[in-house]
């Protein structure tokens, strides 16, 4: 049983790394073979948006970096622990950089589901509204199923070791994912949250002012107030729209993305003519 920790923090022996290592120590007690990668030690070029991974089927044009190596590590593991700090409302940029490079994985179907856990240290309560968005997206496009996540309030470098509860939590999450792999139980074990799919608490109010949507999953529901409390209701049929369902993801790439090649080719001459002035503008 192999468990991989991906560290989205640049700091060596910082809070993220400590929490991840603590989780891996917990996983080892359950028989896991563990490994940790600090994403910032690897070269992750930005996605060029060329679309050739889709149009030429699985060939990424960015070859001079380490993303294939990272993907191979994710492929080889049985479960993953993602750790990243929250510096400014969301996870660090390297996580997003990796998400963008996951395009090449996005249109694959039949990805083998593996469990994953997320650990997010942050400094100020209330300044982490978007942290689950990136972790949910990354895990989903990599074919991982989140079984738990934890945010830990801590600040200065390595200070998390002073927080016994947080250290126990991380250790327990490491054990938990190893047990989940062994038992093949990928059910979510964390706090329920609001969205029954990604368990985040973010909601988007649509322009009809009647419908709400989980911005990550794209699942729609309704709000109501009962006894002074906000109730969120997602109808069962709405789950058919969850963007992380295999058929929804497949349809997106098959019908929204792939046919754009036809449009792109049809408009070639017109685009060429109309883009000329931009090529010449502000260039020397």
């Amino acid at each position: 049983m192999k468990i991989l920790a991906l560290n989205g923090s640049v700091r060596q022996n910082g809070n993220t790394e400590i929490l991840l290592k603590q989780a891996l120590m917990g996983a080892e007690t359950e028989g896991a073979e563990v490994e940790i990668l600090r994403l910032t030690d690897y070269k992750i070029q930005p996605c060029r948006g060329c679309g050739l991974c889709l149009f030429r089927e699985n060939v990424c044009q960015v070859q001079d970096d380490d993303v294939s190596f990272i993907f191979s590590k994710v492929d080889a593991c049985d479960g993953m622990i993602l750790g990243a700090p929250c510096y400014f409302l969301e996870l660090t940029a390297v996580v997003k950089q990796l998400i963008d490079r996951c395009w090449i994985l996005g249109h694959k179907i039949g990805k083998i589901k593996k469990p994953a856990t997320v650990l997010i240290p942050y400094a100020t309560r209330g300044w982490i509204p978007y942290v689950s968005v990136q972790s949910n997206v990354l895990l989903n496009v990599m074919g991982l199923t989140k079984i738990n996540e934890a945010t830990v309030c801590t600040q200065g470098i390595s200070e998390v070791v002073l927080d016994e509860e947080a250290m126990d939590l991380a250790y327990g999450l490491g054990k938990e994912i190893a047990v989940a792999i062994r038992k093949k139980d990928f059910n979510y074990k964390g706090e329920a949250g609001i969205c029954p799919s990604c368990h985040d608490r973010l909601l988007r109010i649509l322009k009809d002012h009647e419908t709400i949507e989980c911005p990550t999953c794209g699942v729609r529901g309704k709000l109501s107030i009962f006894d002074g409390k906000i109730n969120v209701r997602f109808e069962e049929k709405a789950w058919a729209d969850s963007r992380f369902r295999p058929d929804v993801g497949y349809n997106h790439f098959t019908y929204h993305i792939a046919p754009s090649k036809d449009y792109f080719l049809r408009t070639k001459e017109e685009r060429k003519m109309k883009t000329q002035k931009f090529k010449e503008y502000l260039t020397k």
């Binding site: 889709l54 149009f55 089927e57 179907i109 039949g110 649509l206 322009k207 009809d208 949507e213 058919a240 729209d241 295999p246 058929d247 929804v248 497949y250 349809n251 997106h252 098959t254 019908y255 929204h256 792939a258 046919p259 754009s260 090649k261 036809d262 449009y263």
Partner: protein, 118 residues
């Protein structure tokens, strides 16, 4: 040819609910527009999913449901589009209005931003 003419191309999974011809006829009556409907189905079941190769296909040829509407009056045309967007939400891709007249496309596109369902 009518002044306002639009083709709304919905791909699998795009409409919020099933597009039924009887509902479209009802919209046509209510808003005084002409509506026709075409369904193109090229998907085949494979590995538990309805699948189709679309990469080298023409946009008009891949699986989709096309609602074509036309009207001479801008209000009728716009109101019907709003009603369609409200029921099914709007088509989703940059080329999902392909085949529309310039005037029709302009209206259908503009209404997407406000009434498109997002």
């Amino acid at each position: 040819m009518t002044k306002y003419f639009a083709k709304l191309r919905y791909y699998p999974g795009d409409p919020l609910e099933e597009i039924r011809e009887k509902d479209l006829k009802s919209f046509a009556r209510e808003y005084g527009v002409k509506i026709s409907y075409e369904k193109i189905e090229k998907r085949e079941m494979k590995d538990g999913l309805l699948m189709e190769r679309t990469l080298d296909s023409h946009i008009e040829d891949i699986s989709q449901e096309v609602i074509t509407l036309s009207a001479d009056q801008e209000d009728n045309f716009s109101n019907c589009i709003i009603a369609l967007y409200k029921k099914y939400r709007c088509p989703r891709t940059p080329y999902s209005l392909l085949g529309s007249s310039e005037a029709g496309q302009k209206i259908a596109k503009k209404l997407m931003n406000v009434h498109g369902g997002w």
